[in-house]
C-alpha cells in the first residue's frame, strides 16, 4: 500500500501528465515542431493558406541582416517548418518563390534560439490553376515553366532546349521581344560565337542554317513584338522527403562574375571561380565572409577561370579558359603560378574548361582525338591514348583509385573511358541529344555524367556499358553530376529551379526546390565528412548554395 508521501507524488505526477497532455492537445503544432533533429532546433512556425489549410512545400526563409546569409527550410504536410539554430539577431522573414501566392515579407524579426514565429498566412493570387502573367510571377518562373507555358511544337521546344541551354537561363531569353530580323542577328552571334563570351566568330556555326532559321522563326512567334505572356503553368511544389532539407545561400562581393565551380579545402573554406572576371574567392561558411584573390591578367585575353580543384595539400588549381593557362595558387603565400596550355584554339576561345589531376600531378583531358595526360609543372604531354569516335570530352574525371579516366563527350552523345594503366580507350554511345558532360566517379567505379538533354548517365569502364536515367522534370537540363560517399548522385536541374538527388539502388529521385528559379549548377562539390552529406554549388547567377538534407 502506498504511503501518504507516495500518494502525493503519484498525484503530482498525474497532474503533471494531465497538464502536459492538455498543452499537447491545445497547441499541437508547436509541440510537434520539436523535431529533435541534430541539424535543427531553431525558429519554427506554421504556414497556412488564407482559408486555413496547412501548406506543404513552402520555402520559408530567414535572411540575416548582419551577414546577408539566407537560410531556407520547407514546410511539411502539416504546414510546419523548423530552422536550424541561428545566430541571435535581426532577420528578414519571407517566403522564397511565393509564385502562386502573394509575397510575404517581415522585416526586423528578432531571432533568439527556438523562437516560435507567428503563423504565416498566404493568399493565393488567383483561384484558377494557371497563374496570371504578372511580371512579379514571370520573374519567378523556371525555364521549364516558361516552356510549359509557351506555345510551340515538341520539335520547336526540343530544338530550343538542345541548343540554348548551357550559358544562361531561359528567362534571359523569354523576358525579351524582338522582331524576326533582330532574333536572327542574336541567334547568329550565339551560334557562331565561341564559348560564352562569343568573342571569336566561327563561320561554320554550331548547327545548320535550316535549324537556325526554324529557331529564329519560333522565337519571333512566341517572343515577337506583339507577343503576349500566356497564363503560366507551374511545376508542383515539393512534398514529403523533398521538404526535409536546409538550404543556405551566401552572397558574393561582386556582381556579374558568371560564377562557375566550387571546391572545398581542408580548413572548411569553399573556393569559387568567376568565368568572365579576375577575382576568385574563398568563402568562410561560418561567417559568410569572402576573401578575394586577383588572378593576374594575360594581355589580350578576357579574364576568367573555369575549373577549381583543391588538392590534399590545399593547393588551389584553376583553368583560365580564355587565356589558356593552368593556374596553381598557394593560399599561404598568395602566389599564382601559370603553365601555358597548348591548344589549337585562338585566345578567347575555350581551351576545354575542366580537367582532372592525379596524385602525380598529371592533368587528364580528352582533346583533339586523344585522352591525354599533361604534366602540370611543364605543360608537356606525357601520355596519349587515341580515340576513334569522339574528338574530345567536355567532362574530365578520375576514378578514386586513379586508374580510370572518364568524361562525357558533349557536344557529341557519348562517353569516353580510358584505362590509364593499359591505355585501353572505351567509347560508348548514348541516346540522341543526351549530351553527357561533366561528372565524377562513384566509389564502385561508375562514372556519372550530367546530360544536357536532361539525362543522368552512368557508365562503367569494366562492364563497358552505359545506363541512362531521364530527369523527372520536363525541359530541365544537367551540366554535371556528383556522386557522394553513399553512392547517391547530386546535381542542379538547370532550368528546373530544383536540385536533384538520385539513389541508384532504389532509382528514387528527390527534387529539392531552390529559393531562386535557376539551379544553374556547373560543378557541385560534396562534403563527405558530414552525416548526411553536405552539398555545395555556386549558381552561375552569382551566389553560393549549400544543401543539407535532413536524411
Amino acid at each position: 500500500m502506498p504511503s501518504r508521501m507516495g500518494s502525493r507524488r503519484i498525484g503530482v505526477g498525474m497532474a503533471a501528465i494531465l497538464i502536459l497532455t492538455l498543452c499537447w492537445i491545445l497547441s499541437p503544432l508547436g509541440a510537434e515542431a520539436q523535431s529533435g533533429h541534430p541539424l535543427l532546433g531553431g525558429p519554427r512556425g506554421v504556414v497556412r493558406s488564407s482559408k486555413g489549410a496547412p501548406l506543404e512545400g513552402i520555402l520559408v526563409q530567414l535572411i540575416s541582416q548582419k551577414t546577408s546569409i539566407r537560410t531556407t527550410v520547407v514546410s511539411n504536410q502539416d504546414g510546419r517548418y523548423e530552422f536550424p539554430k541561428l545566430e541571435t539577431g535581426a532577420y528578414t522573414l519571407r517566403i522564397a518563390r511565393p509564385r502562386e501566392f502573394h509575397p510575404s515579407v517581415q522585416e526586423g524579426v528578432e531571432i533568439a534560439g527556438p523562437t516560435q514565429l507567428a503563423d504565416l498566412v498566404l493568399e493565393r493570387v488567383t483561384e484558377g490553376d494557371l497563374l496570371p502573367p504578372y511580371p512579379a510571377i514571370a520573374a519567378q518562373l523556371t525555364g521549364a515553366e516558361w516552356l510549359l507555358s509557351l506555345t510551340g511544337t515538341g520539335l520547336e521546344k526540343r530544338r530550343f532546349v538542345v541548343n540554348c541551354n548551357w550559358c544562361h537561363s531561359y528567362q534571359q531569353i523569354f523576358r525579351n521581344r524582338y522582331d524576326e530580323a533582330s532574333w536572327g542577328k542574336i541567334i547568329y552571334r550565339m551560334v557562331h560565337g565561341a564559348g560564352s563570351p562569343l568573342i571569336n566568330i566561327n563561320e561554320r556555326g554550331r548547327f545548320s542554317e535550316e535549324e537556325k532559321g526554324a529557331l529564329v522563326k519560333w522565337l519571333a512567334t512566341v517572343r515577337g513584338p506583339e507577343s503576349k505572356d500566356p497564363p503560366f503553368v507551374t511545376l508542383p511544389r515539393p512534398q514529403g522527403r523533398a521538404t526535409r532539407v536546409i538550404i543556405t545561400e551566401y552572397e558574393l562581393p561582386r556582381l556579374e562574375l558568371a560564377t562557375h565551380d566550387v571546391w572545398g579545402d581542408s580548413k572548411g573554406y569553399v573556393w569559387y571561380t568567376p568565368h568572365r572576371s579576375s577575382y576568385i574567392g574563398r568563402l568562410d561558411p561560418k561567417t559568410g565572409a569572402v576573401k578575394e584573390y586577383h588572378v593576374p591578367v594575360a594581355p589580350g585575353a578576357l579574364p576568367g577561370t573555369h575549373w577549381v580543384y583543391v588538392d590534399k595539400n590545399d593547393m588551389v588549381w584553376l583553368s583560365e579558359n580564355w587565356a589558356h593557362n593552368i593556374v596553381r595558387f598557394d593560399p599561404k603565400t598568395e602566389e599564382f603560378s601559370k603553365v601555358a596550355w597548348k591548344v589549337r584554339e585562338p585566345i578567347n576561345s575555350p581551351m576545354g574548361g575542366n580537367y582532372a589531376i592525379d596524385a602525380e600531378g598529371i592533368i587528364w583531358k580528352t582533346r583533339d582525338s586523344a585522352v591525354s595526360g599533361v604534366d602540370s609543372r611543364t605543360g608537356e604531354q606525357v601520355k596519349q591514348f587515341p580515340t576513334k569516335k569522339f574528338r574530345g570530352t567536355y567532362g574530365s574525371a578520375l576514378s578514386h583509385d586513379g586508374r580510370y579516366f572518364g568524361g562525357g563527350a558533349w557536344p557529341a552523345d557519348g562517353v569516353v573511358l580510358a584505362d590509364t594503366r593499359t591505355g585501353e580507350v572505351i567509347e560508348l554511345d548514348t541516346s540522341p541529344s543526351s549530351g553527357p558532360a561533366r561528372g565524377a566517379f562513384d566509389r564502385e567505379g561508375n562514372l556519372w555524367s550530367g546530360g544536357r538533354g536532361g539525362v543522368l548517365v552512368k557508365s562503367n569502364p569494366v562492364q563497358k556499358r552505359v545506363w541512362e536515367y531521364p530527369l523527372p522534370t520536363p525541359y530541365a537540363s544537367l551540366y554535371q553530376a556528383m556522386p557522394d560517399k553513399n553512392g547517391e548522385v547530386w546535381g542542379g536541374e538547370q532550368h528546373g529551379g530544383r536540385y536533384f538527388r538520385f539513389n541508384p539502388k532504389t532509382e528514387q529521385w528527390t527534387e529539392y526546390m531552390l529559393p531562386e528559379p535557376y539551379a544553374h549548377d556547373r560543378k557541385s562539390w560534396v562534403d563527405n565528412s558530414t552525416n548526411p552529406v553536405t552539398v555545395w554549388y555556386v549558381d552561375h547567377d552569382g551566389w553560393i548554395v549549400r544543401l543539407q538534407p535532413l536524411e
Binding site: 491545445l26 508547436g30 506554421v46 497556412r48 486555413g52 489549410a53 496547412p54 526563409q61 548582419k66 551577414t67 546577408s68 546569409i69 519571407r94 518563390r97 502573394h102 509575397p103 515579407v105 517581415q106 522585416e107 528578432e110 516560435q116 507567428a118 503563423d119 493570387v125 483561384e127 504578372y134 512579379a136 520573374a139 519567378q140 537561363s169 528567362q171 523576358r175 525579351n176 521581344r177 524582338y178 522582331d179 533582330s182 542577328k185 542574336i186 552571334r189 562569343l198 568573342i199 551566401y250 552572397e251 558574393l252 562581393p253 561582386r254 556582381l255 568572365r276 561567417t287 569572402v290 576573401k291 589580350g300 585575353a301 579574364p303 531562386e516 528559379p517 535557376y518 547567377d541 551566389w543
Partner: protein, 170 residues
C-alpha cells in the same frame, strides 16, 4: 505585400499561443469548408484578383528587371549594357565599334552627330549587325543605358560592380 514590424516579445507569445490554439481549428475549418465544394452544393466565392507586389529580396526579380545593382540611373545602365551590349561591344571583339569615349567622338558610324537622341535611336532601331531593342527595352531602360554610355562606359572585366547585398566581413 505584407511588410510587418515585429511584435513586442510578450505580445508575440500571446498571439502565437492563440494562433497555435487556433491552428488546429483552422485545419478543421478548412476540412469543413472543403466538403460542400467537393459535393458541388456551393460555389466558392470569387474575389477580385490583384497584382502581386514585387518582393525586393527575390533575386530573380532583380535579374529579370536589371535591378541587381541599382533601381535606375547609370549603375542600372551598366547592368543592361553588360547583358545587351557587351557581348559585341567589348575590347576583344573585332567588327563592332568600341564604345569607350563614345561621347567624345564627333559622330556615330552612321555619320550622325553623337548626342543622347541619336544614341537612343541607334539602340531602338539597331543596325546591320545590331538587333533593334525598341520592343525589349523601355524608354526608362534606354535612358539608363544612355546615361551609362555618356558617363561611365564601358564594362571593365577587371572590376565587376560591387554586390549591394553582400554584408559579411572577415
Amino acid at each position: 505585400m505584407a511588410v510587418r514590424k515585429p511584435f513586442p516579445r510578450i505580445a508575440g507569445l500571446l498571439v502565437a499561443a492563440v494562433l497555435l490554439g487556433a491552428a488546429g481549428h483552422g485545419r478543421w475549418a478548412s476540412a469543413q469548408e472543403a466538403s460542400p465544394a467537393q459535393g458541388g452544393a456551393q460555389t466558392p466565392p470569387t474575389r477580385p484578383e490583384r497584382e502581386p507586389a514585387k518582393d525586393p529580396y527575390q533575386r530573380a526579380i532583380g535579374i529579370y528587371e536589371f535591378r541587381k545593382a541599382a533601381e535606375s540611373g547609370r549603375e542600372r545602365g551598366r547592368e543592361i549594357f553588360y547583358y545587351k551590349c557587351w557581348f559585341c561591344h567589348n575590347e576583344f571583339v573585332k567588327g563592332a565599334p568600341d564604345l569607350r569615349g563614345l561621347y567624345s567622338r564627333s559622330q556615330l558610324t552612321s555619320g550622325q552627330p553623337v548626342n543622347d537622341e541619336t544614341v537612343r535611336e541607334k539602340i531602338r532601331n539597331g543596325g546591320p549587325g545590331m538587333p533593334a531593342y525598341q520592343h525589349t527595352l523601355s524608354d526608362a531602360d534606354v535612358a539608363d543605358v544612355v546615361s551609362f554610355l555618356r558617363e561611365g562606359c564601358c564594362w571593365n572585366s577587371e572590376s565587376p560592380p560591387a554586390n549591394p547585398r553582400y554584408r559579411a566581413r572577415e
